[in-house]
Structures are given as structure tokens and as C-alpha cells.
Symmetry: C2
Amino acid sequence: MRDFSADHTALALNTASLGHNVEGAGAGWSPEQVIDACAARGFGGIVFWRREIGNRAIKIGDRVRAAGMQVVGLCRTPYLVGSGTPPKLEAEVWQSIDMAAELGAPVLTIVTGGTEPGTKGVIETQKLLVDRLAGFAEYAARQNVALALEPLNPMFGGNRTCVFTVAEALAICDRVGATNLGVAVDVYHVWWDSRLTESLRAAKGRILGYHLCDWLENTRDMLLDRGMMGDGIADLRTIRAAVEGAGYDGACEVEIFSAENWWKRDPAEVLDVMVSHFRACC
Amino acid sequence: MRDFSADHTALALNTASLGHNVEGAGAGWSPEQVIDACAARGFGGIVFWRREIGNRAIKIGDRVRAAGMQVVGLCRTPYLVGSGTPPKLEAEVWQSIDMAAELGAPVLTIVTGGTEPGTKGVIETQKLLVDRLAGFAEYAARQNVALALEPLNPMFGGNRTCVFTVAEALAICDRVGATNLGVAVDVYHVWWDSRLTESLRAAKGRILGYHLCDWLENTRDMLLDRGMMGDGIADLRTIRAAVEGAGYDGACEVEIFSAENWWKRDPAEVLDVMVSHFRACC
């Protein structure tokens, strides 16, 4: 297991932590400001959201690398299933894959979307998901982009996801059978799962992203009350040991949706706290 | 599988559906009003919360039976672990067991409480839970009361539970090894679990309660936005088939926490809708 106590080159910022992915949230820093602030603090990489990139993917990607960091990934495809899928789904997914390629992001994250209208549970929805993933994985492979299927906490069933655990995400990947499809492991979504260590063992070579934050003991909001690493009850070291045991040696991406706390602070302070907590608690 | 389309004698009201378990919520009907309204509509039973019973357990239990129904269960023990446990835990658990016995409720539900202060994850907490359950199950056995361990949706990790799936609840029961300890299956908490059918198969003879509501596609509140059966996306019939496949032939208890919808309606209307949706959707 890597020792981060005096080395945070594996630390990556997911810009959601500064509120950038929600209209009107956060300090509104430009990608350039974020890049400079991360580089100044020795971050290893950044993960952007599509809405920040617009048509400047190549320029922003180049700027990250010129600052000595990597574009670790791009968030995310539109929902692929459920009532939240966009009208022109295929075109929008292709665009998101193209954007990842232009940014130089090796990984595009997938949040699946929820239960298909007119159906119950998730079994029918997962069938459709498998079909669609197969097509999109093929397109992504041509662009040299990998797709990371992210299981979400079961509270996001219904409208946001139909995949709830690492085991379930791996089963979906097996059914699709594409070499550029793997899983993203986010401690917020999986910390509670007593089968997690076992599931991650089966994820050998298929973990495409590791997302950090913490689960606050008294979570007040489903979506926007994530904690800074160390402030909650997730067993971060045990989870990372299992993730690295599965061969993952990539970036650790901090993604903290926090409308009432971290998004209200100066981004410079948030980034400083992130570095110190990453070294101390992760 | 039982046919409820023209028979709702298996239907039980959990009084939480009328807002009774939260201070200031609901219409504030007395237990007697609830009993009369349920009996008038042909309900088979009622599940009360401790706060409604006070020192009138024997009287209320007798009144339910005199009205031709059963007291199906009592909600619930205080938290047994985590920072929300009461100062005099043992005495309060004993009191709740005594109350169930006096009511004539065969089952007392357990919501475990969350992660122990000073620990991470749930493994240490579950060890403590197993120890405490062993002692309380022994006390309950002497009172002829069964304890139903209820796994909660993973969104309630941290401060409300350390048991998230039916499989995990059964594993805890195995470790305790008490014949009067089983599980409660609530569709709100377990609908998303793709291992549910398999887990319920292993629950043969150990299901002590089956709780109904629905998971709304767009759930707006973690705690108080449950749906009426049929209004959401849980696959209620498939779940009940698995529950009955495990030998459960008891009451189906409707428990709908719904601050912004059902708790604002006339309880008489809520009960009428409950009967018709139970027959049509469950």
C-alpha cells in the first residue's frame, strides 16, 4: 500500500469539490484558476466536469499537462437509462467520449441513470444498460477512452442509478465484455458494503478510478453533504488497501459535494485542507 | 403466493403511516381512533410505536384484539450501538421488551443504531451489536417476544444502522444464535438489492416481519418521503414472492413516512387508499 503521509502526488482534484458542477455553486473559478491552484499545491491531477470544458477541451488538457499534472478523468456521460436520459442520447454520449479524448482524459465516468419508465426494480433496466454500454464501449475504444461504471449508494436508486455495489458493477462489466470498460470505486457510495473487500478482489485490473471523500455520521442531505476525508466514519485506509490490492495504482480523486460547508469556503482553503487530510487520513 | 386482490386480512397498519411516531406530525389520532378506523376497514392488525403506548400497553392490546385484529408488532428498541444509544440502554431495551409483551405483540423491531464513536466502518460496531443482541434476546425469550433485526437502506449508515442488507442481518443472527432473533424485511430498505431473492431463500423461517411502502423514483428526503405501494418503482410482487417463498405467511405492515404527502392528508383517506393499493399493487 502506498504511503501518502509525506507524498501527495497521487492526489487529484475532482472539481465538484469546489462546487463547479452545479449551477451557481462554489466560487466560480475558471478551469485555468483551478489548474494553477492545484499545480501550486503539488496535486497530481484534475478531473473535470463536461460543463466546465465547453469547446476548449484540447486547450484545457494541454494546460493541465503544461502545469505538470494529468487530466485523470472526465465526469461524466449523460444517464444511459431511466427517465433522465437526454433526447439525443447516442450523440451526447459520443460527444462526451470525444471530449474525454480531446482533453487527454483516459477515463470517462458513467453514472447509469435510474429505472426505466414503465418498469419496476432494476432487472429490465440493467438489460438495456448492458446493450447500450456495449455500443458505447466500442465507440470509446476507437477514441482510446476507457469507461468507468460507477456504482452509487442505494439511496440513488430510482432516478440516478441502477447499479449499487462494486459486485453488481463487475457483473454488468462481465455481461458487456469490453476490455475498456471497468469500475470506479467511490468511498461515498461503497463504504458501507461488508462484501467490499471480497468484491474488490474480483476487480483485479478493472478499477479505473478511486474517489475520495468521507461519509459524515449525520448526513443531512442525500446529494450535497459529503465530508472531507477524516471527518466521517468511512474506513478509508482499509478501502484503499483493498483497491490497491486489486492492482490500482492511479490517482485518488477527491470529490466532495458539500453545499453547506466546503462549497461556501475559499477554494484555496479547501485545496489546502484537502492536501493535509489526504496525507493524514487516506 | 397469497392472493390479496380481494382479501386484505393480511394488511396491517404501522402507525408511522399516519405520522404518529414523529412529534407534531400527522392528525394526532389516539390509538383508540386508529384501532376503530382500521377495524372498520377490515385491517388484520396494527403495529404501534412505543411513544403512543405510554403505560397503557395492556389496555391498548386488549382493545385491538376486541376489535378483531392483532397487534402485529411494536416499533422499536432504542439504538443498541452508536452515538445515539440512550444513557440507560439496558433498562430501556428491557422496558421495550416488556411493553411488547404487555401489548401482546409477538415481535419487537430493532433498528441497530450507527457506527460506534471512535471507530470507522461497521465491523467493530457489529461485534458490539452481536454481544448486546445475545443478552437482549435472552431477556426477550423469557417474555415470549421475538426480536426482528431490520436492515436499513445504506443511506442510513453512520447514525441509524450498521446492518444494510438481508444477507448481513442474517449473518448477524447467525453469530448471535438465538432462536427468537430473526429479520424484518422492509421494501424501502431492500428493494434495490440484486441479491435479495437469494438472501431471502437463506432466511427460511427467520422472517419476522414484512414492511410495505414504495420507493419513489424521485425521492426528495432521506427519511420522510416514502411512497404508497404502487406509486414507486419497487418490484413489490417479486419481493413478496421471495418473502413468502421463505415461509413467511404473516401480516404485511404498511409503514409510510411521508411528511409532505400522506401525513398531511386525512387519516381516513390514507387508510382507504392503503386498502385499495394493497389489493391492487402488492
